[in-house]
C-alpha cells in the first residue's frame, strides 16, 4: 500500500498507526514496528513560538514522499510504510509528521524509519513559518538530526 498523506487538519498519529495496522491485516508477518512523530515545540532558536504555518509545493510533495517510500522498500526488506505530514496552520503540541515502518525484524524498521525521516527533512518541499511576539519569520534550516 505504501500510503502517503498531506493533511490540512490535526491528526492523532497513534490512532493512525492503529487504524493502518488493522487495514494492513498482516498480523503474524511483522515483528517490528518503528515510528517517528514530529511535534510542534513552543520554542526555537531561543524564542518563544506561538504558532506555525507550513507551506508546501503541491504535487511535488506527494511525488517526493512516494519516492522516499519506494527507496526505503528497495533498500530494506519492509512489509509496509506510512507517512502523514501536516500543512497549514499548526498549533503548539500538534503532530507535524508521522513516519511508520513495519518489517519482520527490528534492524530494518529502525534503519528505514531514520532514512525516511532524514530524507524528508532535507529534501521534501515543505517550509515552516513561525509566529513569535516579534512577528513572523521563516525557518531557514532544520535542526541537526
Amino acid at each position: 500500500m505504501m500510503p502517503i498523506e498531506i493533511r490540512e487538519s490535526s491528526f492523532n498519529p497513534w490512532d493512525e498507526i492503529k487504524l493502518h495496522q488493522q487495514k494492513l491485516n498482516r498480523q503474524g508477518q511483522y515483528g517490528a514496528t518503528a515510528s517517528f512523530v514530529g511535534t510542534m515545540r513552543d520554542f526555537n532558536e531561543d524564542k518563544h513560538v506561538q504558532r506555525m504555518t507550513l507551506e508546501h509545493y503541491p504535487g511535488m510533495t506527494d511525488k517526493y514522499l512516494e519516492k522516499i517510500c519506494k527507496e526505503a522498500h528497495q533498500q530494506w526488506d519492509l512489509i509496509e510504510t506510512l507517512i502523514i505530514h501536516r500543512i497549514g496552520e499548526i498549533k503548539i503540541a500538534d503532530p507535524i509528521v508521522l513516519v511508520c515502518v513495519w518489517s519482520a525484524h527490528r534492524a530494518e524498521a529502525f534503519d528505514a524509519c531514520r532514512f525516511m525521516m532524514e530524507d524528508l527533512k532535507s529534501k521534501a518541499p515543505f517550509w515552516k513559518q513561525e509566529s513569535t511576539a516579534d512577528g513572523n519569520r521563516w525557518v531557514e534550516k532544520s535542526t541537526p538530526g
Binding site: M60, I96, S122, K123, P125, F126, W127, S142
Partner: protein, 80 residues
C-alpha cells in the same frame, strides 16, 4: 517557448509573486532562468542557496529548460 516558473516560501515573498509564465527565445539553463528572475531582488541571492526543480524533480544549475516545463525555485526545505 513558454515555461511556468513557481516560487515558494521566503522567495515567494521577496519576489511578490508565486508563479509566472516566461517566454524564452532559446533553450537555456535553469541557472540562466534564475539570473533573469532574481535580478529584482535586493541583495541578490546566490544560486547555491536556492533549490531548483524542473517538472518537480531536483536538477543541477546546468540543466536545460524546455518548452512547457514547470520550473521552481525555493529556499532550503524545513519540513518534518
Amino acid at each position: 517557448m513558454n515555461i511556468t516558473v513557481k516560487y515558494f516560501a521566503s522567495l515567494r515573498e521577496q519576489l511578490g509573486k508565486s508563479e509566472e509564465i516566461l517566454t524564452l527565445s532559446d533553450e537555456i539553463s535553469i541557472a540562466e532562468v534564475w539570473q533573469n528572475v532574481s535580478a529584482s531582488i535586493s541583495g541578490n541571492i546566490e544560486s547555491e542557496n536556492i533549490l531548483m526543480t524542473i517538472n518537480m524533480e531536483y536538477v543541477k544549475s546546468d540543466a536545460l529548460v524546455k518548452t512547457g516545463d514547470e520550473v521552481a525555485f525555493f529556499p532550503p526545505v524545513t519540513g518534518g
